[in-house]
């Protein structure tokens, strides 16, 4: 077995509601080895995003119980002021909307080097590393574009900047929450390719949160299918796609329209009366 990087045990997440806390995740187990790519798959309301955010304790309102072990750090026991030690350094984050996750009044260069600067890396060195990284991510003329602002970049380029911010401090884990949902297919393919290459080069584990079964198939080693705050099924992607054990996984796979499929056959509908 390879070394375990992230171990989540019986994670429960509740948010305050009108009549007391409402539990949205009901006991999740999740393991990631170093360098492993795992997809957390589910539809809206499945709890996939809050689960991923819980790894870095990003939702201050959330009440977490269970255990999250990230590279030897007991995340849930960590005092709030020490959370910075894991954010950025041990785990980086990429969100869905590249425009919303960048500060519009700061240059992209300034934003990329922050994770290094706050850890005491001299600015000159940080700048050089940022330019190298941007170049690696396919940003042409990175040295000149370093001082540009987010609005001067296209959607795909912005997402590369967001990825640069997430990985510049060389975290062992990258959490990517729907990183390509807002992008066109060709840009999506390129961004996923880059993430895959970065993961391989740096032995970085990736936790990919997505609703898209297509990109899971091409990206992840293992998949965890979530529904209503519970794990439905997990395993290597080859197995899940070829022999889904759970009815929900089967229905989900059959609900996706496929090029080359038979258009005269209706797509699978997931039961439970009027679900939509």
């Amino acid at each position: 077995m390879t070394e375990t990087l992230l171990a989540v045990r019986d994670l429960r997440i509740a948010f305050p509601g009108r009549t007391g806390p409402v539990e949205v995740v009901h006991g999740i187990d999740l393991d990631l080895a170093r360098g492993e790519k795992v997809a957390l798959v589910g539809e809206s309301g499945s709890g996939k995003s809050v689960t991923a955010r819980a790894v870095l304790r990003l939702d201050p309102d959330a009440r977490l119980s269970g255990r999250i072990d990230l590279a030897g750090v007991d995340v849930l026991a960590l005092p709030a002021r020490r959370l910075r030690e894991i954010r950025g350094a041990r785990a980086g984050l990429v969100f869905q909307d590249p425009l919303a996750s960048l500060n519009p009044v700061m240059t992209i260069g300034w934003q990329i080097i922050q994770p290094l600067v706050i850890r005491g890396v001299p600015k000159r060195i940080a700048r050089r590393r940022a330019i190298d990284l941007l170049t690696r991510l396919g940003v042409r003329d990175a040295a000149h574009r370093f001082d540009d602002y987010p609005h001067q970049f296209s959607g795909g380029m912005r997402q590369r900047v967001v990825i640069a911010i997430a990985v510049i401090a060389e975290p062992a884990l990258l959490i990517a929450d729907e990183p390509t949902t807002a992008l066109d297919v060709r840009v999506q393919a390129r961004v996923l390719e880059l993430l895959r290459e970065l993961a391989a080069e740096r032995d970085m584990a990736v936790l990919l949160i997505t609703h898209d079964l297509g990109i899971v198939a091409g990206f992840a080693d293992r998949a965890v299918v979530m529904r209503h705050g519970r794990t439905v099924e997990s395993g290597p992607v080859e197995e899940i796609y070829a022999r889904p054990r759970h009815e929900y996984t089967r229905a989900l796979l059959a609900a996706v329209p496929r090029i080359g499929g038979d258009p005269s056959r209706p797509l699978a509908v997931i039961g439970e009366g009027e679900t939509c």
Binding site: L252, A255, P263, V269, E274, C276
Partner: protein
């Protein structure tokens, strides 16, 4: 094509802020046919839909629906044309007036086009339409806010169908929905199309969705139509390099296929 086309679009040109966003778009939709309009963001597919529906005035071009000139129509004639041409929008959360009940939303087109003068009959018709799209008539007095995205999209479809249109323009109607809900709405559109003989102009960025629903496909790049043909032609042997690059980038929900693709690159 032997039959007279229901919709004919000729040489649409539109500029926004000095940029040419539509650069001479032409295509036809036959009665009962579903035409998919695909392209990336900024390709002009939504603008084309809006010009056909005359929500946006193109700078040049002609749109003919069942022999009537859409762009030259006066206010009264346009209203008559709109009985034949309805639209379903992308965002089911913003395309329904939040202050109206489901009944009021579906009855509105019936009242506006004076299709049903009697109030009670209007309500009965609204209930029928709601059931046609697979929802219970018990929902009539609720507001859009209390429905999920998929249900709202069904309500939008019921509303669009109220006037008995021959052409439905769907602008990314499933792109903001979950996979399972998307499947339900796609099934519904396919079903309605068969039952009602509807023509659909279907705008989408997801090529698999378009494959599932459309008889013919038009590919747009930077405001120009680069390829148009039957589903089998466009997906089976795409003639334009842009179409090929799009198809290459579509993720396939099959790990074996994806692995083979990657080793090809």
């Amino acid at each position: 094509m032997l039959t007279e086309p229901l919709l004919r679009v000729e040489n649409l040109v539109k500029h926004f802020a000095g940029r040419r966003v539509l650069d001479g778009i032409s295509f036809e939709v036959a009665p009962g046919e579903v035409l998919g309009l695909v392209g990336e963001s900024g390709s002009g597919k939504s603008t084309t839909a809006r010009c056909v529906a005359r929500l946006t005035e193109p700078d040049q071009g002609r749109v003919t629906l069942a022999g009537r000139d859409v762009l030259a129509a006066g206010r009264r004639e346009l209203r008559a044309i709109r009985r034949d041409m309805q639209m379903v929008f992308q965002d089911p959360y913003s395309s329904l007036n939040p202050r109206m009940t489901v009944a009021a939303l579906i009855e509105e087109p019936l009242a506006v086009h004076r299709l049903e003068a009697d109030r009670r009959r209007r309500r009965d018709r609204a209930a029928e339409l709601l059931e046609l799209v697979g929802m219970s008539a018990a929902h009539l007095d609720r507001h859009p806010r209390s429905f999920s995205g998929g249900q709202r999209q069904r309500i939008s479809i019921a509303r669009a169908l109220a006037v008995g249109p021959r052409l439905l323009i769907c602008d990314e109607p499933v792109s903001s929905l979950d996979v399972s809900v998307q499947a339900q709405v796609l099934n519904l559109l396919g079903d309605l199309r068969r039952r009602l003989g509807l023509s659909i102009l279907f705008i989408a960025h997801d090529l698999a969705v378009v494959y599932y629903l459309c008889d013919r496909v038009a590919v747009l790049e930077n405001g120009a139509l680069v390829e148009i043909g039957t589903r089998e032609q466009v997906y089976g042997s795409p003639s334009h390099p842009y179409t090929r690059s799009l198809l290459d980038a579509v993720p396939v929900p099959d790990p074996a296929v994806e692995r083979a693709r990657r080793s090809d690159r």
